[in-house]
């Protein structure tokens, strides 16, 4: 078997292992779904009346782009904990003593968690439709939105994996995997428009990858009101392009970092 064929085969084996684990812990899937449904309902009903959408659109339509991005970003906390948990167990020693591809453990982890993010995304989409979210974009564009969400989720899962490999215990991973996501998602256009933020915060929010992806997803879902002029920042004027670039940059940094960390974790 060639090196590449081996990596693919090993990644498939580890992905399958993680998906089986996920299936045997249905409560983790159930709570993942409850959490995403809860976020949609909370934001739609609590902020729905309070936030004016620039360009005069419906807040639920504005919200869904943001909440999709927020929820898939939060999936990386799951990856972080799972990685730290795996690392603390004897099974990782077994993996390291096998003649398998070094990258397979990480790739298998992130692919399985991507599937999990897919499940929660479907739950959110259904909840969104129930509370009035509508998309009138062409099917290809809607598929593009979900594809972009998947790419973004996958890139973020690698950040979670790297944090999980860097911390010293599962308990730390539970916090470390999560806290940075709050400022990141709230200092963005995910829930409130950039225009309502103080001027000093606006450039930060504009160059936040969450904002790019939220804006791109809104555009692809056809949830941007006609006549809306995006703020004068390049990433928000080219949301799809800037989102893809952000994802590629994150992957270019965190994939090699993750593989290096995994190797080094061996000598702990």
């Amino acid at each position: 078997m060639s090196d590449l064929a081996q990596s693919v085969s090993d990644t498939r084996t580890i992905t399958r292992r993680n998906l089986t684990r996920l299936r045997r812990q249905p409560d983790s899937i159930v709570f993942g779904i409850i959490q995403s449904v809860m976020f949609v309902l909370l934001f739609a009903f609590v902020f729905g009346g309070a936030i004016a959408v620039p360009g005069g659109g419906d807040y639920t339509n504005y919200l869904m782009g943001g909440i999709f991005v927020q929820t898939v970003a939060f999936t990386c906390a799951t990856t972080c904990v799972a990685m730290a948990d795996d690392l603390s167990r004897g099974l990782f020693d077994r993996f390291r003593s096998l003649p398998m591809a070094r990258s397979a453990v990480l790739a298998g982890r992130t692919f399985a968690d991507l599937a999990f993010a897919g499940v929660t995304t479907v739950a959110m989409a259904l909840t969104g439709l129930l509370v009035g979210w509508r998309t009138d974009a062409p099917a290809l564009s809607v598929m593009g939105a979900f594809a972009l969400l998947a790419l973004f989720a996958y890139a973020f899962l690698w950040i979670g994996a790297v944090i999980g490999l860097s911390v010293r215990s599962v308990e730390v991973a539970q916090t470390a995997g999560l806290i940075w996501l709050f400022p990141l998602t709230f200092m963005s256009n995910a829930f409130v428009p950039l225009e309502s933020m103080p001027t000093w915060l606006q450039p930060i929010a504009a160059w936040n990858p969450i904002s790019s992806v939220a804006a791109a997803v809104r555009e692809l879902f056809g949830n941007v009101p006609a006549g809306y002029v995006p703020p004068d920042y390049w990433p928000l004027q080219n949301p799809v392009l800037s989102s893809v670039l952000w994802c590629l940059v994150i992957l270019a940094v965190f994939v090699p970092l993750g593989v290096t960390r995994y190797r080094r974790a061996a000598s702990r």
Partner: protein, 351 residues
């Protein structure tokens, strides 16, 4: 031919109080088809040695080969020749026994059909057929260890590493696992096992390397190590208040260090002369009005070897373990770091 060699392995870990030399120049040579037992207490460096040889960790100095392959330059090659069964069961709790073995087989790149067949074969061999399709988290400790060991054998490796294979197991599972390991050895597998149990090394290993504080302090067969200590042991148990009197009696008969355990009121002295010495001892105790609760002669155990070599017991049970701290005023405290038999007027003070 050597299955495993190690030359001057050094591994240093940073710690709060500077650094710990987990391995401080370890040399090993394990002939193919033999069993080497690394015997030592917790923290002696046994696990570190196994992790380096199994390519989980790089040494800070020294070199090692496994199956003729250098661990530093070709770790993947080494991984193809070994099976590792670690101190903590390398088992996925949410997968069934069968799924665990099939996963490992797939990671050794066996085709699916072969992976299935090999898993079924191992489940039968390790008496796990009934539990095969249950999640491993429902397994008992002994079953987990068997599944773990089965995982290490999936690719029929010529060399296996067993890191404390029976730690935490009940006596029955322990004997069961010993039988499995003996079966492997009978088929020609080279085994390097670590243990802190003297009876385990005695039972399984062809050669024993006694490890203490990152160094091999003695090596040889079980019999050689026992011979190094020499003679028999006279063990006597007396009432608590008569320990001192009993010691005086034994000093006249002992050929080496007397080991006293305050807790069980037992004194152990190396002696020569067999039954005659036993009779002499009984008379001497009687003369001094020392009551004998129990007395007997026995062959030296590996624990005696360890005590002789290191000045402390192998198993961490709180006995005389502090070794180097001399009790106040006692001049004769011996904490021998070499295999030399200490002069008979020296005493290992118990505290």
């Amino acid at each position: 031919m050597s299955a495993i060699t190690a030359e001057n392995l050094v591994k240093v870990f940073p710690s709060r109080s500077g650094e710990v030399r987990a391995l401080d120049g370890v040399d090993l040579d394990v002939p193919a088809g033999s069993v080497l037992g690394l015997l030592g207490p917790n923290g002696a460096g046994k696990t570190t040695a196994v992790r380096i040889l199994a390519t989980l960790m790089a040494p800070d100095a020294g070199r090692a080969t496994v199956n003729g392959i250098d661990v530093a330059s070709d770790p993947q090659g080494v991984r193809r020749s070994i099976g590792l069964s670690g101190q903590y069961s390398a088992v996925d709790e949410y997968l069934t026994g069968r799924e665990n073995l099939e996963m490992v087989a797939r990671l050794y790149h066996l085709p699916m059909a072969q992976a299935r067949a090999r898993a079924a074969e191992l489940l039968a061999e390790f008496d796990l057929v009934e539990a095969a399709d249950r999640a491993a988290k429902t397994y008992s400790g002994g079953m987990r260890r068997r599944l773990d060991l089965a995982g290490a054998l999936v690719a029929r490796p010529p060399i296996i590493f067993l890191d404390e294979p029976t730690t935490g197991l009940d006596p029955r599972s322990r004997i069961g696992l010993w039988e499995v390991i003996e079966g492997l050895v009978a088929k020609g597998t080279t085994v390097l096992l670590t243990t802190q149990y003297l009876d385990e090394a005695d039972k399984l290993a062809d050669t024993i390397a006694v490890v203490d504080r990152g160094r091999v302090i003695a090596r040889g067969t079980s019999d050689q190590l026992k011979a190094e200590v020499g003679g028999e042991r006279l063990a006597v148990t007396v009432p608590a208040g008569q320990m001192t009197d009993a010691r005086v009696v034994l000093e006249a008969l002992a050929t080496g260090t007397i080991d006293a355990d305050e807790h069980s009121h037992q004194l152990v002295a190396p002696v020569s002369g067999g039954a005659a010495t036993l009779l002499e001892a009984v008379r001497a105790f009687d003369d001094r009005h020392v009551e004998i609760l129990d007395i007997g002669l026995r062959r030296p155990t590996l624990d005696d070897v360890f005590l002789q070599l290191t000045g402390h017991h192998a198993e961490a049970d709180g006995r005389a373990g502090a070794g180097p701290t001399p009790p106040g005023g006692a001049s004769g405290t011996v904490t021998a770091a070499t295999a030399d038999v200490p002069p008979s007027d020296s005493q290992q003070e118990a505290h």
